[in-house]
Symmetry: C2
């Protein structure tokens, strides 16, 4: 019995691999004509009121973090996500850092986190003097696997009173940082149950997931706190920026205090009451963000349409899998992704080089964080799925601008 | 013998104090007519190419940290300060934090720092897990007092090999963070000698001191590394922003690496080789910064002229002292300051309230950092001068825009 092309479970032979590269290039060209390239991985799409708001900001002189656009941007984020509060920050990393503090993460704690994510997820934990404790992902959403997590915690967790300890290291496991990878919603409902069972604080890294939802709730509205990012490579950008989301009034107030150097509220005394940070988003960046958020429905619609084209283009091709929206939610399709079947994994460098040469700026998945020198000695579960996916996956050009905006029906994010 | 009005060494009586408040208000009005107020403490002055550069940035879509304006801004900073390298960051606090790391500050080290400064100076030390060790200032520049510092170190320092230890706490004293307070140059040449004698790394907090110099060198070019700030309240603003200055090629490269998540330079591998930060200034903010730096000579000239008016206005009035440019350098006169003579110190709240009611948004000096709850138990020298100055000083409205720009000869910063 002959095996199907590009889908064997041993390494593909070189000639087949060359044919595979050619086949991938052909499918790429069907979506994005090479003559119109090169195609960056992800570019911002700046339009609408961007210049008008930014110009107003310059005209007013209120470019710094004390300014009307920051509050307006936060109001728009509340409206967009359904969170009770949003606190705008200077970066997604800053938002993640503050989320850790809001979750009560302290020195020598551990925070569960997947290794298939941008390095900021682990760095934010490290900034608190705590340790990332890596747990595996599942192949549908690329997010934390609730089943594997449960099995891991059943093996190593030990409740002392109402605090979950890692019985191996003796350290408290304070939080679970769930990443919505590439904008696909993680299995957040099941993960919330696991976190509740072990009394671990659920934190969402929704840096890539503005516009994403699971069930009927936006990404960032399932845990105690969440972080968004508005870096230049995100669906919506403020140049650099982020935000903290929470439904908790007190935590929102603390988030604002922690991001604004913990200044004591007294015009005649210049004092600060705790160690805090200079993490507030400047008004200049928020002005751009307000215009960007007004464009969000259109951007999401364009990204959804682009994803449909990628899905269709690669549908008939053996040897790889389009990472698609999971059944339990809606993706913002921030970065479209392909996963090579095992026989083709070793050809990824060759394939990426060929794609790059043809003007398609694709990107391999992150080196999983437990493989990085500074995180290789941290506590970890079996990370077989993450290791496997990291070796086989790559992202496709995903800018909303690749679909001509303005020609699409407005996309209802909950529809 | 009758004592001179407003200059006694005991507390002034209430009626004299009321007269004093009236006298201060009169002098204020001579510089800034109350009918044209209110006068904020410090406002940005946005002019020149600001709109053109920022619009170009939006038009290009390069709003994030990968962009031409960031490099250009750094080149302009090099040109302005004479430092060999400048690395633009998201805030002055971020720059200070990275300066600490570049200076080799590690957990459980101590860093000498004055308490009369913005809280970020101590926070940056704390972020590294190190301890601020507070040392006193002198009343001319409000910067660290080299004589008092020498006496303190002679008392407590113990050289073990080439490392200076605090013999009381047993911790290494790794750095000396010199603050150029309100833009006045500290006694940096003498401080550099003290640091060299005890083999302590000299770091400059030049957050307030762009355009300031001591001897023939700009503030920020005397130590191993220095931090600048471009917050909205600074002489030059990028909304929020900062920069690291250094003459050391390797430290400059490390600064860039540390501020950009320590990404490994390989297009086909997405990895990071150390714990680092997302601290790079976005292009959008740098575009504004480029225009602002082009205005710097004019802004400095305006601020110098405003300082001359404040100096003149308060010259004949007993009971207070205008904190003036010291003989050993040039000030950028970021924030003009008055120091009340001891009998009037207790009247400061009343005076500030009266000034505020008249539309003059003055500000008391910072609560000295060793009086803040999170820093009160740190190592410290005698801090009598800092405590005294902090209780008596306040800042005056100091915006460059209070002098009509464009009507002044260009100010030569070395002239």
């Amino acid at each position: 019995m002959s095996r199907p092309a590009f889908a064997a479970d041993t390494e593909a032979d070189p000639s087949e691999s060359d044919a595979f590269v050619a086949a991938v290039l052909e499918r790429m060209a069907a979506v994005l004509p090479p003559e119109d390239g090169p195609y960056p991985l992800h570019e911002p799409h700046i339009d609408g009121a961007a210049w008008s708001y930014v110009k107003d900001c310059l005209d007013s002189g209120w470019v710094s973090s004390v300014g009307e656009y920051v509050r307006w941007f936060e109001e728009k984020l509340v409206e967009t996500t359904g969170a009770a509060h949003a606190v705008a920050t200077v970066s997604g990393t800053a938002a993640l850092h503050i989320c850790m503090l809001l979750a009560g993460v302290q020195r020598d704690d551990e925070v569960l986190v997947p290794p298939l994510t941008f390095v900021a997820s682990a760095n934010a934990i490290h900034y608190c003097g705590a340790h990332p404790h890596f747990v595996d992902v599942e192949p549908v959403s690329l997010g934390v696997d609730p089943t594997a997590l449960t099995a891991h915690l059943e093996r190593i967790a030990e409740m002392r009173g109402d605090v979950c300890f890692n019985s191996v290291t003796g350290r408290p496991i304070r939080g679970l940082l769930v990443v919505h990878c590439f904008g696909h919603p993680a299995r957040i409902a099941e993960l919330a149950e696991v976190a509740a069972r072990f009394n671990i604080v659920l934190i969402e890294d929704a840096a890539e997931a503005l516009g994403t939802s699971a069930g009927n709730r936006s990404a960032g509205c399932h845990g105690k706190v969440a972080a968004l990012s508005f870096n230049g490579n995100k669906t919506v950008t403020t140049g650099g920026g982020g935000a903290i989301l929470t439904d908790d009034d007190e935590l929102a107030e603390l988030a604002l205090h922690l991001t604004t150097t913990a200044r004591v509220d007294d015009p005649f005394v210049l004092a600060h009451d705790m160690v805090a940070f200079n993490y507030r988003m400047p008004n200049l960046n928020a002005a751009l963000g307000c215009a960007q958020l007004e464009q969000l429905p259109e951007l999401l619609a364009a990204k959804r349409q682009l994803a449909a084209r990628w899905r269709e283009a690669f549908a008939g091709l053996g040897g790889l899998r389009f990472i698609d929206e999971p059944s339990w939610g809606k993706s913002n399709f921030w970065l479209n992704a392909l996963s090579l079947d095992p026989p083709y994994a070793t050809r990824r460098p060759q394939l990426l080089a060929a794609l790059d040469a043809a003007g398609y700026h694709c990107r391999p998945f992150w080196t999983p964080l437990h493989r990085l020198p500074m995180y290789q000695d941290r506590p970890m579960a079996s990370l077989q799925v993450a290791d496997d996916l990291a070796a086989r996956g790559f992202n496709l050009p995903s800018s909303a601008g690749l679909i001509r905006p303005g020609t699409l029906p407005i996309f209802d994010k909950n529809g």
